[in-house]
Symmetry: C2
Subunit: 448 residues, 2 copies
C-alpha cells in the first residue's frame, strides 16, 4: 500500500455547508471542512477531499451552518462586565468621575478581576469571539482565567499616571508589566502587552518607558487615542499644535507594534502616520455612539488599507455587551448614514474587519484571522437553522446583517472545542452568574 493513499491522522475535523475562509482569495467553499492537528489548521478544502486525506479523533459536522474564522474583539476591558450598565445615558465626564472611577477604586481587586474576566470570556466565546485584546488591571489574573477557559487574548497591563487599583505609580505598573511579559511571552494563547492608558493620562516619560519595555520584548503597545474631540483639542494646546497621534509619534511612541483604540477624531494626516509606522487601529462603534464621542472616519481607514479591527470597548455604560455581530452591523450602518452612501463598508469589508482586520491590527495576522493551513485553529460555526438565518443567501451579508451572536453553534480555539452546540465546555455559567450577582450587589452598596 502506497503511503500517500493512507489518511493522515488529525485531532479534529469540522465541516459545514459553507466555509468562509478569509484566505488570500477570499474563497468560500461549499460543503467544506477544516482538519486540525496540534492546535493548528492542517488543511482546508471540500469536505470530500478532507475526509479522504485525514482521519480525526473527533468531528463536528454542521451541514446547516457557516464555518468561519473566529472573531477578534480588538479592544475591550473584560472585567468591567461586573460594572455592566453602571451608568447609562450620562455625560462621559459624569460617567467616569461619578460612577466608574469611584466604583473601581472601591471594588476592583484581584478576585473582582477574575470573576469579571470569567463572565466576559463566557459571553465573548458563546458569541464567536476567539481572541480579545484587553486593557485593565491585574492582567496576570486575567491571563490565568483566560488561559483556563481556553481563550486567546492580547493582555495589556494598564500603566496610568495616577494610583490604580493594582499599582499606585506608573513605575510600579511598568515593573510588574515586565514580570508579566516574562511569564507569558512564549504562551500559545496569551500575548502579554504594555497598556499605557492614553497620551493624556500619562507623562511623556511614562509613555517612552512603556515603549522601551514593549520593544525590549517585542510585545504590543495598546493605547486609547483621539477618542474625543476634547482630547484632540487639548493635545494641540499642550503639545505644540500636535494631535494625539502626532504627539505620540514625536516622542517615538509609535516606533514599534502599536494598537490605537478609537481614533474617532484622527485626521487624514494622523492616518498617514499610522500607515507609515505600521500601527493598528481599533474601531469601537457602539462605544463611540453611546458615549456620543463621534463617528470615526472608517471609510478613509479602509481606503488606506490600514490594519483595522473592531472592538466592543468595555460594557460598563459604553456598550453594554461584548457582541461583535452587533459591532459589524452597527459600524456599517453608522458609516452609511454618516456618509449618506449605502455603498460604504459593505458586508464583506465588515466581516474582514471582525476577523483578519483585527488580527492585522494586533499584529497577529500570520497566526490567526483566516482559515489557512499552518495558522492556529481558531474557528466558529454559525447556525443557519434560525429564523433570521433563512433563507440562506450571501454568507457575508448574513454574517453582518442578519445572523446574531446567539446563532454561534461551535467554537474552536487553538484546536480545542470550547463551545459545542451552543454549550460552553470550559466555563460554568451558573457559578459565574452567581458570583457576578454577589459582587455587583457589593459594588452598588459601595456607592450608596
Amino acid at each position: 500500500m502506497c503511503a500517500a493513499l493512507v489518511a493522515a491522522p488529525a485531532d479534529l475535523i469540522v465541516s459545514a455547508g459553507k466555509v468562509v475562509t478569509m484566505d488570500g482569495q477570499r474563497r468560500i467553499i461549499d460543503n467544506g471542512a477544516v482538519a486540525i492537528a496540534k492546535g493548528r489548521i492542517v488543511a482546508v478544502g471540500p469536505r470530500a477531499e478532507i475526509d479522504k486525506a485525514y482521519t480525526a479523533a473527533k468531528r463536528i459536522d454542521r451541514p446547516d451552518a457557516l464555518l468561519t474564522p473566529g472573531l477578534v474583539n480588538a479592544h475591550t476591558h473584560a472585567a468591567m462586565s461586573l460594572l455592566r450598565g453602571m451608568a447609562d445615558d450620562v455625560e462621559l465626564d459624569d460617567w467616569l468621575r461619578r460612577f466608574i472611577f469611584p466604583a473601581e477604586a472601591k471594588n476592583v481587586n484581584e478576585a473582582f478581576v477574575r470573576a469579571g474576566t470569567r463572565l466576559a470570556v463566557l459571553e465573548m466565546m458563546l458569541g464567536g469571539t476567539t481572541t480579545y485584546a484587553d486593557m485593565y488591571y491585574f492582567e496576570q489574573a486575567v491571563a490565568e482565567e483566560t488561559k483556563k477557559a481556553g481563550m486567546r487574548a492580547v493582555l495589556g497591563q494598564t500603566v496610568i499616571g495616577f494610583p490604580a487599583p493594582d499599582y499606585k505609580t506608573p513605575e510600579a505598573a511598568l515593573a510588574a508589566t515586565e514580570k508579566f511579559i516574562a511569564a507569558y511571552r512564549s504562551d500559545a494563547l496569551i500575548t502579554p502587552a504594555v497598556g499605557p492608558h492614553a497620551p493624556y493620562t500619562n507623562s511623556e516619560e511614562t509613555l517612552k518607558a512603556a515603549r522601551a519595555l514593549a520593544n525590549k520584548y517585542g510585545v504590543p503597545y495598546l493605547i486609547h487615542v483621539s477618542e474625543t474631540n476634547q482630547e484632540n483639542m487639548e493635545s494641540g494646546l499642550k503639545h505644540h499644535r500636535l494631535s494625539p497621534t502626532m504627539y505620540l509619534d514625536s516622542i517615538g511612541a509609535l516606533d514599534g507594534r502599536t494598537v490605537m483604540a478609537h481614533m474617532v477624531w484622527a485626521g487624514s494626516n494622523d492616518l498617514q502616520f499610522v500607515k507609515t509606522r505600521g500601527a493598528g487601529i481599533v474601531h469601537c462603534p457602539s462605544s463611540n455612539a453611546k458615549l456620543a464621542s463621534g463617528i470615526a472616519n472608517v471609510p478613509a481607514m479602509v481606503a488606506m488599507n490600514l490594519p483595522l479591527g473592531l472592538g466592543t470597548d468595555g460594557p460598563a455604560g459604553s456598550n453594554n455587551d461584548f457582541n461583535l455581530f452587533e459591532e459589524m452591523d452597527l459600524a456599517s450602518k453608522l458609516a452609511k448614514v454618516n456618509t449618506r452612501s449605502p455603498k460604504v463598508l459593505p458586508a464583506k469589508t465588515m466581516f474582514e474587519m471582525a476577523t483578519l482586520g483585527g488580527a492585522r491590527a494586533l499584529g497577529m495576522d500570520k497566526e490567526i484571522g483566516s482559515l489557512e493551513a499552518g495558522k492556529r485553529a481558531d474557528l466558529i460555526t454559525v447556525s443557519l437553522n434560525e429564523p433570521n438565518g433563512a433563507p440562506a443567501h450571501d454568507p457575508y451579508s448574513m454574517l453582518v446583517f442578519s445572523l446574531k451572536a446567539s446563532d454561534v453553534q461551535d467554537v474552536v480555539i487553538e484546536g480545542r472545542v470550547t463551545v459545542e452546540n451552543k454549550r460552553p465546555l470550559t466555563l460554568n455559567p451558573v457559578q459565574i452568574y452567581k458570583e457576578a450577582a454577589a459582587i455587583r450587589a457589593k459594588v452598588d452598596a459601595s456607592l450608596k
Copy 2:
C-alpha cells in the same frame, strides 16, 4: 366561607423576578405576576398577592427573568423575509429598480406571501414581538397566516399607483381592501387597515379614496412619509411648496387614524401638524441608516410627546431582520452620536417606544402596550440566565442595551402561550426554513 376569600379562576398566571409594567406609574414589581383570563389581563401585582387571589389552569414561573409587555413592531413588510439580503450595500434606487421590484413582479403571489409571513412571524415572535404592523400585498393571506400563528397584527393592504403583484389598479386594490376590512373588522387579533404606499406613489384621488375608506370603517391609514430627502424636495416642487406631511394634510388625508412610517426629513412644522391631527409616527432606525436615508429627529418627537413607535421595516436589504431589541439599541445610539449628547433617548424612553409608544402610534394603547388589568394579555419573559444578562441591574438598561431577542423565553399573545422556554408552539420552524429555501432558490433563478 366568605366569597372574597375564594381564589378566582384564571386561565394563566405568569410570574417573574421583576415585572416591568409600563403602566401609568411605570411600576416595576419585584417578584411579580400577571393573572390572565379570556385573553385579558385580570390582575398585575406581587406574586404572593396574585397567587392568593387567583388559581390558574396553567402557570409559567421565571424567577430569573423580566416580565414585560410584548414588543410592538409598528412598521414592516413581513413577507419580504423571503427576499432577505436580496441587495445589500447598494443605492436605494438600484435596490428598488434592479432588485426588489423585478423580484416582486416575478415571484410574489399568494403562496409566497403565506410562506414569507410564516417565516417573519416566527422570527418576530421568538424575539418578543407580539404585535406587528404590515404593509404588503395579499393581506388577506397575511391575516390568515398571522391568526393561525396566534400573533397580533395591523395589516395594511397596499394601494399603489402602478400594477402590483395582487391588484393591477388602485381601484381594484381599494375594492379588495374594503372586503378585507369587512372580513376582519371585529377580529380579536387582526386589525385590518388601508395602506396607501406613499404620497408620491399615489394620485391625490387615490389618497383621498383610501382615507374615505379608512374612515368609513374606523381603521388605520398606514403610509410611508418623508423617508428620503429627495421625496421631500420633490414634494415641494410638485405640491405648491408643501412637504409630504403638509401635502397629505392639505388633501384631508390626515383627518383620521394615520400611521406615518419613517418621517426622517420631517421638519418641526410637520411634527406640529402630526401632533394636532393625532397621527402616529414609526421610527425605523436600521432601515434609515442602512439605506443611508438619514437620521430622524427622534428627540424632537419625544419632546413633543408624539405617539411614536419603532419599526424594523422590511428585511430585504433595508435591515435585514425583525429584531426590536436591536432597533431600541440602535435608535438610542444613533440619536446620542447624532446630537453629540449621551443623555438623549435614555433606556426607559426607548423601551417605552418599543411597547406603549408603538401601541399609541397604531391607536391601540387602550388595548395593548402595558401590563394593566383590562388590557389584552400580550406579554413576554426575557431570561437573565445569559452572560449578557449578568449581573442584573436597571431593567430598562438591560432590555435596551444588553439583552437580546434571543433571550426572550416565553411569549403570550391574547392570553395564549405561543412560545414557551424559547420553543415556538404555533409554528413549525423546520417546515418554514425548507419552504423559504425552496422559494428563494426560485427567486434567485428568476433574476438570472
